[in-house]
Amino acid sequence: MISRPAPRPRADALSKATGTERYALDQAPAESLWAGAYRPGAALGLAHAQVLGLDEASVRAALAVPGVLRVLTAADVPGTNRQGIIHKDQPVLCGEVIRHMGDPVALVLAESAPALRHALALLRADLRPLPAVFDPEQALKKGAPLLHPEHKGGNLLLGARIEKGNAREALKNAPVVLRGEFSTPVQEHAFLEPQGGFAQITPDGLLDMTVSTQAPFRDRFEIGHALGLNPLHIRVRAPYLGGGFGGKDGSTAQCLLGLAALHAKGRPVRLAWDREESILAGYKRHAVRLRYTVGAEKDGTLLALSCRLVYDTGAYAHLGGEVMELGMEHAAGPYRIPHVRIEGRCVYTNNPIAGAFRGFGVAQTCPAFEGMLDALAAKLCLDPLALRRKNALRRGDENPCGVRLSSSVHLVECLDTLAAHPLWTTRRDWRAAAPPFTRRGVGLAAVFNGMGYGRGLPDMAIAKVEFTEAGEFLVYNAVADMGQGNAAAFALLAAQELNQQAGAIQLIQPDTERCHPSGSSSAGRTTYTYGNALLKACGAMRRKLISRAAMPLLADELDSLELIPGAVRHIPTGRVVPLKLLAGYLTHDDRVCVAEFLMPVAQNPPNTGRDFLIGFPHLIFAHAAHLARIEVDELTGRVRVCDYLAVTDGGKVLDRCCFDQQAQGGAAQGLGYALTEDFQLREGRILTGDLSTYLLPTALDVPDVLSLAAEGDEETGPHGLKGVGEVGINGPGPALAAALEDATGTRPHQLPYTPERVLALLGARGSSRKRRRA
């Protein structure tokens, strides 16, 4: 049995539950100016257009509004006016062309929010329509309108291939061959706190920003490049985020905010996207089309997999190529397959910008490879769980990309835990007891998610811990906490390593001036990489305090001393020197310990995936097995998720409460992706532009998600843990599809599984009178 200790409150629980936590915009000085972007495409119904300029009369009218200070255009942007994390292709303000309906062409500075709103409503842009393209496969055809004519590949941002063995030959000879096509939609991050922050040019010329960001250190370089500033003259502070999920990885409002500050004559400026602007201009999950062919032996042993994936990256690259890379790396599933060929194309269109999103390209592939596994199980009359268990990757295996898995792999244990659970073992009786007009179905999925940046981009963190004058400890968290609980995990790790009460550890949130560069809050790396660095820094601090206490305790052997809560103790005599006293003996420099950690990478990487600039391959993966029990209403196609179980392999569990919250939050967001979040686009226009039409699941739509741990030990992790922030979102898409297939007899191949699509699965009208599937 898995023991479940009483949950311990997270370090940030009380302040967030009581509403006292101060997010970026809560800290803006009252006298701040207001800045806001003018995005004309949506109002004019233009997703691709030449910018001829702003209508001069409208600019005069806007400037005549009392309190309106400036109307800035591309001509006012110093520097390259190009933002982007790797590909710098996105204008801060568009001076020549808008490439999607949310592109900004002007930025207004005003004394108040009403003045800003008024001015934005008065502005008019002179736009000349350009031919547009909204379908990624159309965009690759000859003669398609080009979004970035200067880009060598035309609308193809990146085409790439991962190959192992000879999939074509193996598929030719495989006893069983199955094909399938799948598609997954755009998903909106819909964090509670939309993008924004405030900024000011300080008297000594520093651009000082407090923003809602996942990557404060890297932001400096992106902003500096776009605005022509020395990145080291930019200070970014990243207080707790009200959600990120990848949507705040890279500049969102930062470049616009920096531009506003440059024109604010030293006054602080705030910039806040409202929900509509967040949906219009924010980054989304890539919509993907997937075409699969799988070959197997008659006993279900997988022989070969070939697939082609098309990612729609929208108007700009953001991390499109990298997102596709990770998706491709996972496209064959967590299975042993000797022959693999994965082709991917990431394509520019005039749709909204796609970028990083929890499950980074992987959440899109899971419904596909798991759909193929279920199709194979059905074809061969095998138990879907047994089929997965038979092919599941284990430690020491070579994965589908050719990487020898020297890291911890506990997918089989996840599946075994699921198989033993009553929600699985009682499924037949439960299914048979369906009430009138109701079909019941049970489905499962095996999923995984790589951790860290992958080869080619050092995944490093530098932790700093300070022993304060008061004899307490200050941890300089350098990786933004967007709600996932890493800051709380750091406080816990430090308390354990320093043998102190939790209350003796204080946290500083990321600040490029006070903390050391430690990478972004992303890729399931945060607690792993920074946590490892922090353990080293705390270990050094412990040894230091013991050695500094040797003199006052007159101990000539350090082994005779130990750090205890609030003091260093001489074990043989029991004498102590209180930390508060000890702190007084130490200079400031001596009260600080810094240590770094670099994530290990795959050795002898396979000779494939050469098209990827960085990030291929990964070495360490979190795994999970998910189970869903659902009811489908025959009259309406509505789906009720009755029970949900997530069994997660995240190495050793450091904090059960945070671990469960990640599994539950991931499952809830994945259920939204699978069921209710129906992002609709027509010719580049977002039809679901607010939260009354883009429907997140509510508390009444998500069941209590039962989270279990298949605890292993990742030897390279801090206390054996792996990152579990992403894997949870990958399960619901395939698990719900499997449950729907079980309930209706037909598998949906297109997310989300809306009532309308589910009713179609049931055979629509009069279905209730059809004979039920045996």
Binding site: T636, R638, A764, R765
Partner: protein, 285 residues
Amino acid sequence: MNVLFPRTRAELFQTLAEPGARVLAGGTDLLVRLRSGRETAAALVSLDKIPELRGISETGGEGLGRGLRLGATTTHTELLAHPLVRARLPMLAQALSELGSPPIRNMGTLGGNTCTASPAGDTLPPLMALGAEVELASARPHGAGTRRLPLAEFITGPGRTALAPGEVLAAVHVPLPGAGWMQHFEKVGRRNALAVAVVSLAALLRTERGGTVAEARLAWGSVGPTVWRCPEAEAVLVGRRLSLTALGEAAAVVRAHVKPMDDVRASADYRRTVAGNLLLRLVAL
């Protein structure tokens, strides 16, 4: 923007006479429309402090004409908590329990839901099936200052009502169905809370001994510009028991007559299918 809080009927009509003044009840619809800029107001006149517009009272004597007067500013939460609403108007209670979310139900009012006159207004199909009437108040001298209209005549189109300028909805009068009436309401939304109805059905049926339908009143939401009735389907059911066969026939009649719209929430086809399908649920009554 000014928000005014008149305390009497006289003050109310005085403040409403100001140019650009608009009536504010719970604000759950109006504030959204004002924020989006689709509508404007020079001042908001809140009905919140006028006691006679709020609360639930019994009207009529024993027997015929017995009903409830539901004050226009009574919140959905208050209606839901009322024992007579729960016991005698379960179809309305069901609709109220699925309307918005707890915070919306705490603010939103029955009068607001009625005057918004949305095709998807959750309380409207049950009120229509129940034969509700509205009580309208205006500044005209006593007696002439109040008129009553059937709800079906009050709502004239999506977002449109028969409210005359300067007139305010004071209450909704709902007759209480006697013994022998069965009530049913179902809302189909895209999620379980904070959902706009894609289709809804309110059914009020009187059966005789043996389960034969003597009278049927069916009202659908979200399948037309206003609440939609289908006398042809009602006629199919009268004189028959609520068997799957009879209900299936009525459902086919519904699908043949209903003319729903496509929108971001559902296609016309889906609405048509489901508008019929929902009748099959009555087999369980």
